[in-house]
Each structure stands twice: as structure tokens, then as C-alpha cells.
Amino acid sequence: MNMERNQSLWGDAWQRLKKNRIAMACLSLVVLFTVLAVYGEVLYRYHDIKDTTPAYQNTDLDMAFKAPSSKHWMGTDGLGRDVMARLVQGVSIAYKVGIITSLIAIPIGVFFGCIAGYFGGKVDDFVVWLYSTFASMPGLLFILAIAMVVGKGLLGIYLGIGLTTWVGICRLMRGEVIKHKGQTYVLAAQALGLSSGRIIFRHILPNVMHVIIVTFTLRFPAAVGTEVFLSFLGIGVQDQPSWGLMINSARMRLWQGIWWEMTFVTLAVFLLVLAFNLLGDALRDALDPRLND
């Protein structure tokens, strides 16, 4: 029964989304990135199990810092590794960081924001206290502390970023829910005898979905940016190429005229973020029946 209800909301949205050319183009791009991410992940695991060196780790010092050519379309880096192979491999980490941290942060933020906004009173006081406490801790220190506990590497990054960045969405959701709680349709739902949980998550949440979608799309650049920083500090990704590591090393070579690594990685980040943002906007519009007649 739940499925059936979802279908009317999301099914209708999909019908509307299909008519939007730009959205479809962005969706294709997102699908492409997703395929690359899966490919990269599989490749990494495969070589990890077989204990072999994947192509993106092949070093060839004679080939260091070669400009783009027919053999290396995006050139090579300081160890003669193919930039394109590493870039493709990096999609997987950018994705994992963007998505997994969102999967941690967004549900926490949405849940606390919704109950604080809807119930008010003591619940609200508690949630506001909780996020104020989190917000007052320097995020980086918190991430470092988590990395100490769970060890270096991706898990630390996921937990660190995820557990520190729910505050923003929590604040936004709380405000939105407070706004909607006063509306007559919520009173009408209460007058029908619906439970608070159902009113919050079935009736109010779809009306504030745009906040979640926009937050999600904006998290990607931020998460990738944080990953760059953490990898730079040495608590991030260790044995795989990540966009963070690539930008970091390319940054120092840029003045030597080695532009390709920086250019292509930046372009990739740009495309990923653009695709998610435009798609997010279109999805938000598609989810609002009022905008579609």
C-alpha cells in the first residue's frame, strides 16, 4: 500500500520530469557518472583481491608530466600515471563521499528538524541545544577525533563529515516545518485524526522536499572539498586516486605550466556539481504539482 501511494507522488513527478530536456540531459550525465563510479569501485576491488596493480596506478617516470596526447588524452601526472584513468577512478570516491555523507547527515537533520519544528516545546529546546552544541564544535576537530577512533581512511571521512554537517539541514527543516505547521492543510489533517508521525512525514515532508533536494545537490561540492582537505592532512583516502588528492598535487604544478591535471579534474567536479544541481532544481519543480499546468 505504501508503494502505491509513493507512486502517485513520485510517478507523477517522473512524468513531468521526462518532459524537461535539460533535466534529462543532466540525468544522463548523472547516470554516466554513476556508471563510472561503479566501474571504478569494481576495478578497485578486483585489483585489491587479485593483488595486482590497476592501470591507474601504473607509474612510468619517463612519461612524467606529459601534455595531453593521443596516448594519454588528459596527459600524465608527476609519476607518469594516466590522468584520465585516475580521474575516472576518482569519480567513485567523490560519489561515495558525497552520497554516503548525505545518507548520514540528511536523515539525521531531517528527522530532528521535523520533530523540533512540529512538536515545539521541550522537543524543540532539546534539538536546538543539540545542534547548537554540534555547531559550536570546530568541525575539523570533530572529524579528526572520529578519525582517531575509527582509523584513517574513508570510514572516518564519512562519519566525520556526515555527523558534523546535519546541523545545516536540521535548521532549515525546522524553519520550514514551523512555517507549514500553521497552515490549514495541517490542521485539516489533524482534524481527520491522523497521527503526528504521519502528518510530519507524509503530509508536511513532501511539501518541503525541495529543501532536502537542494541541500543534497549542494552537499556534493562541499563534501568533495572537505575530502580534498582531509586527504591533504593525511587522514583521508590512502591508496586510491581521489579528486581531492589530484587537485592537491596539481595545484603545486600549475605554475610550472602543467595545466591539464588541474583543468580536467576541475572540469569533472564542475560537471558533476552542475548536473546534480540542475537535476535537483528540475526535480523540485516536478514535485510541485502547482508549477506544472
Binding site: L9, T184, A188, A189, A191, L192, G193, L194, P289
Partner: protein, 272 residues
């Protein structure tokens, strides 16, 4: 009057907002009853506490409201002492509401059919909901196809009909209508009122009707209560109150509101 005659008895109800000097006595020692199958009209100027009284019946009042005393007897129970869960079981199934502005009373992201279904799912298990939805739309003279329409695609009058359909979905015993026609065009007001009158007769529904409009009072109500600043200043049989208002405030209110059909019904025209 004994409880057996009345579906609802509100006794000495007081609902306040704020504390200390700032206290607003929105409802101040108010008592009224709604008889089985009867319509009680609650009239009064803006801010006189009509809506808060109506919402108090099932404790739908805003969080800031404080119940300072009194009882709301319905079905042999004091509604004010029921748990949240018990109240939810009564809301929508035994007591339904219709609000002033149909345009904002529906959730904008769901179809009308979905929202009617929501009520059925909750209080009426084991029926064919699709069939019931089209039956309900028939009841309020709307075509079935509107079940798949979104609220913004419909007119205010159509939406108020849907609201009535939704309110009646679970065959309530008491309908609380808070100014159900104020936001509508004059011509549409008449249609909606006729519909309400027709349906309440058909299913022997008791109605608590809140209104500014003495035309509505004279056409629909059996009894009337006049509220001012949280208190009831005059009450009685509709005919009696309209023919011979005792309180100056009632006379002012009657003079202030033009009747819909001054010629109809033989009631006293407030214009005199």
C-alpha cells in the same frame, strides 16, 4: 435537557492564551449544547472565540491554548480528559471539521482522491475505497474524474464540496463547519449551504455552524448562540432570537450583515 437528547454538551468551558497581565480569555465560561440531528449556529464578531470554541471540542486548539476549566461531553465522555490516541480515534470518524478556506485546506501535493482515501484508510477498514470515493464525490455532485485532480486545479466551490465529501467520508455524528462559505462567491455560498442542509438531513447529522451571516443562521440553524469577547451573550431558538433579539450586541450584528435572501423564510430582516 438530558444527555440523551444532545450529541454534544459544552459546559463552562474556558480556554486562555498567555499568562499574567497578557492573558487572553479566548473562551470564557462558555456553555452550549447541540441536539441530535440539530444545527447550532455560533455567531459573533471576529476574535470573539468562535473558532477556538469549535477547535476545543476535539482539542485541536493551538499549542499555546490553556484549558482552564469546563467539560466537553460527547458520547458519554469528557473530550478534554481523553488521551491523544483516543481523540484521534474520534476526530474524522465521529466529529468532522470543515474550514473557512477550501483553497488552503487541502495538501497541495496530493490529489483530491488521495486525500479522501486518507480519511477512509484511517477510520473505515475493509471497504472498496475506490468505489467509496466515487460514491462520496457523487454525494456532493462532483464528477468522479476530479478524484485525480490536484487542489490547485479546482475552484473554491468544488474544493469545499470535496471538503464536505471528506468530512462525511466516515459518517460522523457531528460536523463542525467553521465559516464554510465565507471565502466563497455569493452564488457559490448558496450552493454549498443547500448541499450542507440537504446532506445533514439525509444522514441526520448534527452540525455546529460558525458564521458571521444571519442569513445562514435563519436558513439552517435550529438554535443560535451569540458570542462576544469569549462569552455567550445571547442564546435561544433561532426564530426567537431573530424575531426578538434581547441583547444590543445581537441587534448590531444582525444589522451589520446583509441577508442572503431577505425575502425568504419569513424571518425578520435585519435591515429594519
Amino acid at each position: 435537557m438530558t444527555t440523551a437528547d444532545n450529541i454534544l454538551e459544552v459546559q463552562n468551558l474556558s480556554v486562555h492564551f498567555g499568562h499574567g497581565d497578557e492573558t487572553v480569555k479566548a473562551v470564557d465560561d462558555v456553555s452550549f449544547v447541540v441536539g441530535h440531528g440539530e444545527t447550532l449556529a455560533l455567531v459573533g464578531e471576529s476574535g470573539s472565540g468562535k473558532s477556538i470554541s469549535a477547535l476545543s471540542i476535539t482539542k485541536l486548539t493551538p499549542r499555546a491554548a490553556r484549558f482552564e476549566g469546563g467539560q466537553v461531553m460527547f458520547g458519554g465522555q469528557n473530550m478534554l480528559s481523553l488521551s491523544d490516541r483516543e481523540l484521534r480515534g474520534i476526530r474524522g470518524s465521529q466529529i468532522s471539521y470543515i474550514f473557512q478556506e477550501p483553497m488552503v485546506s487541502f495538501n497541495p501535493v496530493y490529489t483530491i482522491g488521495w486525500q479522501i482515501e486518507e480519511a477512509l484508510k484511517l477510520h473505515r477498514k475493509g471497504i472498496d475505497r475506490k468505489v467509496e470515493i466515487s460514491h462520496l464525490l457523487d454525494l456532493v455532485y462532483l464528477p468522479d474524474r476530479l478524484a485525480t485532480a490536484y487542489p490547485h486545479q479546482m475552484s473554491g466551490g468544488q474544493l469545499q464540496r470535496c471538503m464536505i465529501a471528506m468530512a462525511l467520508a466516515c459518517s460522523p455524528e457531528l460536523l463542525v463547519a467553521d465559516e464554510p462559505t465565507t471565502a466563497l462567491d455569493v452564488t457559490v455560498q448558496r450552493e454549498i449551504l443547500n448541499l450542507l442542509a440537504e446532506l445533514s438531513k439525509k444522514v441526520n447529522l448534527s452540525v455546529l455552524m460558525i458564521t458571521h451571516n444571519f442569513g445562514i443562521v435563519s436558513d439552517l440553524a435550529d438554535h443560535v448562540c451569540v458570542m462576544k469577547k469569549g462569552k455567550i451573550v445571547e442564546e435561544g431558538q433561532t426564530r426567537q432570537v431573530l424575531d426578538d433579539p434581547q441583547h444590543d450586541y445581537t441587534k448590531q450584528l444582525m444589522a451589520a450583515v446583509p441577508r442572503l435572501h431577505p425575502a425568504k423564510g419569513g424571518g425578520v430582516s435585519p435591515m429594519k
